[in-house]
């Protein structure tokens, strides 16, 4: 598989930070119970911070000594988060208000530092940028989907648009968010498992057919030799 395709699919699906690695749980639970808009907003903020921090850290990976890499990463990430905060407060104040403290807490989001440590300091800038975008997208999609479920069940609306009058208040609380998060992880893992199993079965089938073909070819060769 092309390495860029692999990085992208890993970030979004096979190593999805929310469903597969269960990282960034704190903002996930806080935002999905709030609203789908807040959840998507948080995801996009993480995407921007993650992509930029991955790129900067990758670019500086040969300059930053190993002994001070973590403090340097934290300073870089904190700077980017502060910039994102300033931009949101200036241009998207409603989102800034709805994200509240959790916006500043992106600094300590383990997805951001985790990708810096596990990927960006070992790969090129382009690969790191792609990894940041893929993981950020994976996080954003996971939060948005769970945010939609919680908002729909908790307040009968989606992205603020009223769909029905029926609502279950629990889904606007941390308990409801936990339930939706747990069920989403189970469902996602099941789908990935089914997909990988079917891929394995398909691969085995192809391998078996190839083996049979090669045996048949070998047998035909023997017969020809005998006839000759």
């Amino acid at each position: 598989m092309n390495k860029y395709k692999k990085i992208t699919l890993d970030g979004i699906i096979f190593s999805n930070p929310t469903f597969m690695l269960v990282l960034g749980t704190c903002p996930t639970l806080a935002m999905i119970k709030s609203s789908a808009t807040s959840a998507a907003g948080m995801g996009l903020c993480v995407l921007v911070v993650l992509t930029l921090s991955n790129m900067i850290i990758s670019a500086l990976r040969k300059v930053i000594p190993n002994q001070v890499r973590i403090p340097c990463y934290i300073v870089i990430i904190a700077t980017l988060v502060t910039l994102v905060q300033m931009v949101l407060e200036k241009f998207v104040p409603s989102l800034y208000d709805s994200l509240g403290t959790f916006l500043a807490l992106i600094v300590v989001n383990c997805i951001v530092l985790g990708r810096a440590e596990a990927f960006a300091n070992k790969h090129t800038v382009v690969e790191s940028a792609l990894d940041g975008i893929a993981n950020g997208l994976g996080f954003t999609l996971a939060l948005t989907v769970m945010g939609i479920v919680c908002e729909f069940l908790g307040s009968g609306s989606i992205f603020g648009l009223k769909i029905m009058n029926f609502k279950i208040a629990m889904f606007s609380s941390p308990a409801g968010a936990f339930i939706v998060y747990g069920l989403s992880i189970a469902l996602f893992t099941y789908i990935i498992d089914v997909f990988q199993r079917s891929r394995r079965v398909k691969a085995n089938k192809i391998a078996r057919e190839n083996l049979l073909d090669s045996r048949a070819a070998a047998n035909n060769g023997d017969t020809t030799e005998v006839n000759a």
Partner: protein, 327 residues
């Protein structure tokens, strides 16, 4: 290690890189701040825009000095007259679960003097982390303007009320209701030109005491107070009868209207019993001991009852002297 060796060492490289990263980050943030700073005026105009659907309006801040700004469990912090709309914008605060909930309320006027309705209600700020306040949906804020009638007291956060709305944010919703009730009452008085002085401004321990409804009678050396408290979180106003005699101790403490929530209401009789026979020093001790006797589960109700006791005891001399002077 020589100086030359130090400059070639990893330690120096670490310090230099770390300081460089800090310096570059600092400069970058300083430049960004220059372009992206949101001034207080800008913040204020944004909120005004929210209140008037993006319209540009001229707000004239009213002078509230010397006025009684504690109304219906809320404190009116600021009042603006909006010239284009000829209505009032009120900033009022009331205590929620973790801290003050500060609301902005537009009060629509008829012929400049009478309150015609409530325009919009928003939460301007929350002083402490109160994450459940997000559960109060736009439809609930909308209800304030839809349900307003003259003399209406909003009780969406009161579990005992028929109009209670279950949100999971009962404390915050009670605080918002207090802010709206207080804002309407204040503007009514302000716009009609009525005197809005604090009837309790010369007294001590006036927290949670409704100065307009509280009264007392003096008989010899004994004062009989009928104290009406304000609401406090989930606790609705209490009506208390407290007698203080010449020994400056409470001789009788009875609860006529119990504002406590259903589950904690039966605890309040014990509080009344405990306060009987107590002096000001005793009550001050209870009030200063955060997490002590007040924290029984009915904390908000206890705060009201113990503060009322402190009010009755602390002002004994003032009231007796005034009675002797014939006031």
């Amino acid at each position: 290690m020589t100086v030359k060796q130090f400059f070639k060492s990893t330690a120096f490289k670490c310090i230099a890189v770390l300081l460089s990263v800090l310096l570059v980050s600092g400069i970058l943030l300083a430049i960004a701040w220059g372009f992206l700073e949101v001034t207080d005026e800008e913040r204020f105009n944004r909120k005004i825009g929210v209140m008037y659907d993006g319209e540009t309006v001229t707000s004239v801040e009213q002078d509230l000095s010397g006025k009684n700004v504690s109304v219906s469990g809320a404190t009116v912090q600021k009042l603006w007259y909006i010239e284009e709309k000829q209505d009032y914008l009120v900033q009022a605060a009331s205590r929620g679960n973790g801290g003050d909930v500060i609301c902005w309320i537009t009060i629509e006027m008829q012929d400049g003097q009478t309150v015609g309705g409530i325009g919009k209600v928003i939460v301007y700020a929350v002083a402490d982390a109160a994450e459940y306040i997000g559960n109060i949906g736009a439809d609930i804020y909308q209800k304030f303007s839809e349900d307003y009638t003259d003399g209406k007291i909003f009780t969406y956060g009161d579990k005992a009320s028929s109009e209670f709305i279950s949100t999971g944010a009962t404390f915050s919703l009670t605080a918002v209701c207090n802010c709206v009730n207080g804002a309407v009452e204040f503007v009514k008085a302000y716009a009609s030109g009525a005197e809005i002085t604090d009837p309790l401004e010369d007294y001590e321990y006036t927290s949670f005491i409704d100065g307009k409804k509280t009264n007392w009678t003096v008989s010899g050396e004994e004062i009989t107070y009928t104290i009406i408290t304000e609401a406090n979180g989930q606790a609705t106003p209490f009506t208390l009868t407290i007698k203080v005699d010449g020994t400056k101790k409470i001789t009788e403490y009875s609860i006529a209207v119990n504002g406590s929530t259903e589950s904690y209401g039966n605890q309040m009789a014990q509080a009344a019993k405990d306060l009987t026979g107590k002096s000001l020093a005793d009550v001050q001790g209870y009030l200063s001991n955060a997490g002590g006797v007040l924290n029984t589960g009915a904390t908000r109700s206890n705060e009201l009852c113990y503060n009322a006791a402190a009010f009755a005891l602390a002002n004994y001399d003032t009231i007796i002297n005034a009675a002797k002077e014939g006031n």
